[in-house]
Amino acid sequence: MSELLLSILRISFLVALWWFVLTVVSVLRRDLQAPRDAKPLTSARSINQPSQRPTLRSRKTSTKLVIVEGALTGTVLPLGTSPILIGRAPDSTIVLEDDFVSTRHAQLTPNGNHWIVEDLGSTNGTWIDRTRISSPTVLRPGTQLRIGRTSMELGS
């Protein structure tokens, strides 16, 4: 093969390789720009079949709240049907003496078989495991609800 043809082939391979890499990078860039926490479309679709979402399968209702970390470690609070208020205010269900806790910090509300956590506009936030909640969130058994220096979880 002639020198010229070899050179052309050599360079065209590099061009092909770079073209591939740059295409991958461009897909990567488009992927980064797309909102990962996709917003729901306004048009909701209604279907007429029973929902079988695994996360919603009926499980035993949690009957107690166990404090696993913080000053009140070991405290067990039986859960009934009334909401539970957590904060520094003396009339809260769980009173936490902690500088990182707001007066009225968070509220636990029963809903069917679930307990829903709602942050009441606290300064330092209400956390489930390592994420700060921004909207009412289901507290699942096995996950930790963290408020200030205190962690608690559901038990049955």
Binding site: L9, R10, A16, V21, V25, D31, S46
Partner: protein, 461 residues
Amino acid sequence: MSTNLIRYRVSNRRSAELALLIGAWLIGVFAWILVDASTAASSLGGWTSLVSAGVLLLITHGVVRWQAPYADPLLLPSVAALNMLGLAMIHRLDAAAAQRAASNGSPPPTPDVYLQLTWMLVGLIAFIVVLTFVNDHRRLQRFTFTAGFAGIVFLFLPLLPVIGNEVNGAQLWISILGLTFQPGELAKVALTLFFAGFLVGRRHSLALVQKKIFGIGIPRGKDVGPLLLVWLVALLVLILERDLGTSLLLFGLFTVMLYVATGRRSWVVISALLLAFGGTLAYRQFGHVQIRFDVWLRPFDDANGNGYQITQSLYGLANGGIFGTGWGQGYPQLVPFAKTDFITSALGEELGLMGLIAILLLFAIIIERGARAAVATRDPFGNLFAIGLTTVIGLQTFIVIGGVTRLVPLTGLTTPFLSYGGSSLVANYIIIGILIRISNAARAPEISDAQLVLRQNVDTK
């Protein structure tokens, strides 16, 4: 009861994955054609190999579509491109070996590329099995201690008398029924699973600091225990099997995972001190470690002896220059072990700096996607496991390419997806399989439970 399902507008980019996968395959075909053209090698078996590799990749893509529809679309094509480039380079070195045999009048050696293709098949099957049977990566957490035990067993398997095998001064292989395998490669996956499962439950206690010395928090003694234990195991492997690369990899992996789990810089400082201490000790005590260091610092002092491999590699890279010599036009076969440890220097010679940078970019993309899956996944075990697996690939690439280019002392490791070697290929495909599974979980749209509960209540009322 009727339920409102909220529709999410998410492009899962499976078609982009397919297109890129075809592109990766075409790159491999192009390279293969150029090798055949310039070395005048017979391409009779070539086309069957290429077509079967393409069919395998297509089947794998189909399985991803079916089993992990939201998975990251860039991991598989990047890996496929590296694997195809590796196959082409092994084919090219086979041709060089055949030419040399012909000029010596000796019978032509069996080409390695077909064996590598078989291992690619095994690797992709392992990938498919992982993706099919591990529906939820969180279930792997159950096997934390099993994996830890298996990892240690894998590491020490080559030392057993009957199946252990010593090759080139390092005892890393086992051979069963004539098949050789490097169990250390699987050990790194098992140990990553162990570290992730172990650290996820202890990250809070590890973050506790008892006292501070020079502004660095020193964790409690009982929390340092596991780090010291793994450090000792890594050192033991180094001593008994003379495997510098794997011990460095394991140590770096555990350091990164500790840092990610606790967020404490003191672990990095402690690890660096341990590494310096262990390195000094190994340098003083072991001849082969000393040689590696001396060759790294002054390769040309002994260019025909211990420094031969690294100097040939440097000459090869220099011969390649910016744009390379072109496929089949250089002399990469002059570097000993060009197919395994030194495949990057072979690629650097024939594709030049431009080609090598493109290859490094592909590695960077794989690592970025792995790290992104780690950050985006919602469970702490998945975070740690994914970052650990990504670290394995990243660190291994750094250690071996850094060694070949004389940035760090040379420690024998394979280049992920490029090098000839079945154990490495299979283990790395398993890693990519788990990463794709985790990225699928991270990218799948999920309606928040509270939203769903509230919505259901509204509907039933």
